[in-house]
């Protein structure tokens, strides 16, 4: 108990500046003191400490993923699947009939499943971009402009408010807003801006994008906010003293130091959006397919191997995406 107290008094320096995580880092001497007090206790060997989590991950994550991969080579029996070693499912995923036939109109046309994955990816990227454009200023405002810690916390909680209700309610709530007889249309008609209700507000790419941004933007605000809040304010002060313009300070200090938060936020959003399948039903009227819906559709007709191929390819695409993001930002180094 005493060590914990000592630690907290050590890090919370008297001069702790405003802000949520704006504490100045401990001095060298303090850090050494902490190190000394926190030398690893002998007693629990590392294997025991990591065993529960490892076991959990192996049984409930690694093995299921492995089984999905194995099922991709099995064959569908029409009412289930049977062990086999076939590449037919992969062939069906990548290649359409007439793909290799120059006389066929579908010559070198990617299969519908590949195109769906591509559409899913492309859409994900554009929603991510919008989320970033919206989330960064929000996080910047919260961490840099709001002085009082209480206000910071209050406003941050306010940003989280949408997460207090269920996912479905947040999506469904758009319907009375955007519909042909929704609030926006009624308002535009009442002020005489339009005569006829505009239909593209709902069941369109517009409403789909809007709903997704609203659903997921918070996932980016959080991490960006925290990484901005962590920036040592003395750096900014020093830069100002040296005559840096606000833009220079942003470009040289704030932007690079907030990158880890941006990367983490983008990874969150990327992974969620790539697996998305339910929002399209609600606000896009099911007028598009994502790889998620393809998996569902094949699962629903008991063609599990082909659903597995789609799931596996989605996983590969996600991994590539995450690796690319991590390539751009070396989170380990930055943190």
């Amino acid at each position: 108990m005493t060590t914990v107290e000592t630690y907290s008094t050590l890090t919370r320096t008297e001069t702790a500046p405003r802000g949520l995580i704006g504490a100045a880092p401990p001095t060298h001497a303090e850090a050494e003191e902490v190190q000394r007090k926190y030398r690893r206790e002998p007693g629990f060997p590392v294997p025991i400490l990591i065993a529960p989590a490892t076991l959990w991950l192996v049984v409930f994550l690694f093995l299921p993923l492995l089984s999905i991969f194995i099922f991709t080579f099995w064959k569908s029996t029409g009412h289930g699947m049977a062990p086999a070693f076939t590449f037919d499912n992969y062939r069906a995923f990548f290649v359409t009939e007439g793909f290799f036939d120059p006389s066929n109109p579908d010559f070198l046309t990617p299969s519908i499943f590949l195109r769906t994955l591509w559409t899913t990816f492309r859409f994900t990227i554009s929603v991510m971009a919008i989320c970033l454009i919206l989330a960064y200023p929000m996080a910047y405002f919260l961490s840099m402009q709001v002085e009082d810690f209480k206000w910071q916390l209050a406003l941050f909680l306010l940003v989280m408010v949408p997460f207090w209700t269920s996912y479905l309610i947040r999506a469904v709530a758009w319907l009375p807003m955007l519909g042909r007889h929704g609030l926006i249309n009624e308002f535009l008609i009442s002020i005489g801006a339009i005569d006829e209700p505009v239909s593209f507000f709902l069941y369109s790419e517009f409403s789909y994008t809007m709903a997704l941004v609203q659903l997921y933007v918070v996932l980016a605000v959080g991490p960006i906010f925290f990484s901005l809040a962590k920036i040592d304010r003395t750096l900014l002060e020093a830069a100002r003293d040296m005559g840096a313009t606000p833009f220079q300070i942003f470009r040289e200090i704030i932007a690079p130091l907030s990158l880890p938060g941006v990367a983490i936020g983008m990874i969150f959003i990327f992974v969620m959006l790539m697996g998305e399948f339910a929002t399209a039903v609600v606000v896009y009227g099911g007028k598009t397919s994502t790889t998620g819906t393809v998996i569902l559709n094949y699962y629903a007709i008991a063609n599990y191997p082909f659903a597995a191929v789609n799931a596996f390819m989605l996983m590969v695409a996600m991994m590539i995406g995450v690796i690319v993001i991590l390539r751009v930002v070396d989170i380990r180094k930055e943190l």
């Binding site: 029409g78 289930g80 099911g286």
Partner: protein, 420 residues
């Protein structure tokens, strides 16, 4: 229990406690297994899985019956893959092509069904009345009869795959104010006049059949069997639909009952493929809605009660009791008030008021206001059910919900349609 001082180290205490907890846990799960061996768990769609029905069964039969209403995909998967998780499957004949070879259900002995003789010929021969047409696709009679091992037989047999119960015929629901006329043909779904005001059901197997009905009605193509289309037929259909979708013909593709209701209540669509209870739900919101009786005929579906292959002993007897209870009519009358029909209409009649029978089954004008099963008035005095009596509707089923041989290809092309 006397505990000697000093005998209890912390470790031994923990050990004992852990052992005790584990023992209690094991005992608990045994108790639960023992519990499960008495009573029935049934799974199905919201059509038949309604608390009031299972509660009434529990009361009437003296053993617990629980029900779980699921979405179609989840229900299908659970029925197929987890037949130890339910005793009764309230399933659908159009899934039999998958369920029968998988042997997830056990054959039902008709000798143990009290009113088997009273079950109509709709499921026995395919013809409700001698003049009826059988309809294309997976007509239930094709999947009813099995041998003792559960293999399909050509003709009647002592055993059946599933006991026929609730069924209905689907068509188009429309808002007469928005369409400006009576809808009498499936072809109207693709009528360019209604551009942007049409919705289809986003279940590939059913969505294509509704579209095929429309294409045939417009005289664009004649399908060999709309319930089992060939690849070129599927291609023709999807290739016809894609440009329509690109031109904005379809407002939405709905996936659940609530969505179909909202689409019309919110004025998003003028007409859509629909399930009949939606009409009442839409009218209850003050929006006019009529269920069309297309001249080409309706799209039928048929459900029933199957027993999981894992059920035996006392529970098997209880399963038969439950099925007999369904056939006896109380639940049949309950679902009739939502527009669903029953395989023994005479038994349903016993539990329906004469006015209810006249409206729901006989196609006569309602002699007074009628309520849904939960007591909300949904039918006003004088209303007439479209399509006439049960017998006139079911003499003209155009096609049954089906699982096509080219199901994989169908799902693939449907994906393409939605992505277009």
């Amino acid at each position: 229990m006397r505990v000697q001082q000093g005998q209890w180290s912390r470790r031994s205490f923990l050990k004992t406690t852990a052992a005790g907890v584990a023992a209690a846990g094991v005992a608990g799960s045994f108790a639960r297994i023992a519990d499960a061996a008495d009573g029935l768990r049934s799974i199905g769609l919201g059509v038949s899985e309604i608390n009031e029905i299972q509660d009434k069964a529990t009361k009437d039969l003296g053993f617990p019956v629980s029900g779980q209403a699921m979405g179609y995909g989840d229900m299908f998967s659970k029925m197929l893959n987890q037949n130890d998780q339910y005793e009764i499957a309230e399933g659908y004949y159009n899934d039999m092509d998958v369920m029968l070879p998988a042997k997830v259900w056990q054959p039902i002995d008709t000798k143990k069904l009290k009113d088997w003789d009273k079950v109509t010929n709709l499921t026995k021969t395919g013809r409700l009345t001698p003049e009826s047409s059988v309809g294309q696709g997976d007509a239930p009679y094709l999947f009813l009869w099995v041998d003792e091992q559960g293999n399909k037989t050509k003709g009647p047999s002592q055993y059946i795959s599933m006991c026929p119960a609730f069924h209905n015929a689907d068509s188009i629901g429309y808002n007469p104010k928005a369409t400006g006329k009576t809808i009498e043909s499936w072809g109207e779904l693709l009528n360019k006049q209604y551009k942007g005001k049409v919705a289809l059901l986003n279940v590939p197997q059913i969505g294509v059949m509704d579209a095929a009905m429309a294409i045939e009605a417009l005289g664009l193509k004649k399908f060999g069997d709309k319930g089992n289309m060939t690849k070129p037929e599927i291609d023709f259909l999807i290739d016809y639909l894609i440009p329509l979708k690109k031109a904005g013909h379809f407002r939405a593709f709905w996936e659940n009952f609530g969505q179909s209701v909202n689409l019309m209540v919110n004025g998003e669509v003028a007409l859509e493929s629909m399930w009949s209870p939606a009409v009442a739900a839409i009218q209850a919101e003050g929006v006019p809605c009529v269920y069309a009786f297309p001249k080409e005929g309706m799209r039928g579906w048929h459900g029933g009660l199957a027993i999981s292959a894992k059920v035996k002993g006392k529970q098997l007897d209880q399963a038969y009791e439950y099925i007999n209870w369904w056939l006896a009519g109380w639940p049949a009358a309950f679902v009739a008030r939502q527009g669903y029909y029953h395989s023994i209409p005479d038994n349903a009649k016993k539990f329906l008021a004469p006015e209810e029978w006249d409206y729901w089954y006989d196609g006569k004008p309602a002699a007074k206001d009628l309520s849904d099963p939960f007591g909300t008035v949904i039918i006003k005095k004088g209303d007439v059910r479209t399509g006439g009596s049960y017998w006139s509707r079911y003499s003209k089923i155009a096609v049954w919900n089906s699982l096509m041989d080219e199901n994989d290809y169908l799902v693939k092309r449907w994906t393409e349609f939605l992505t277009a």
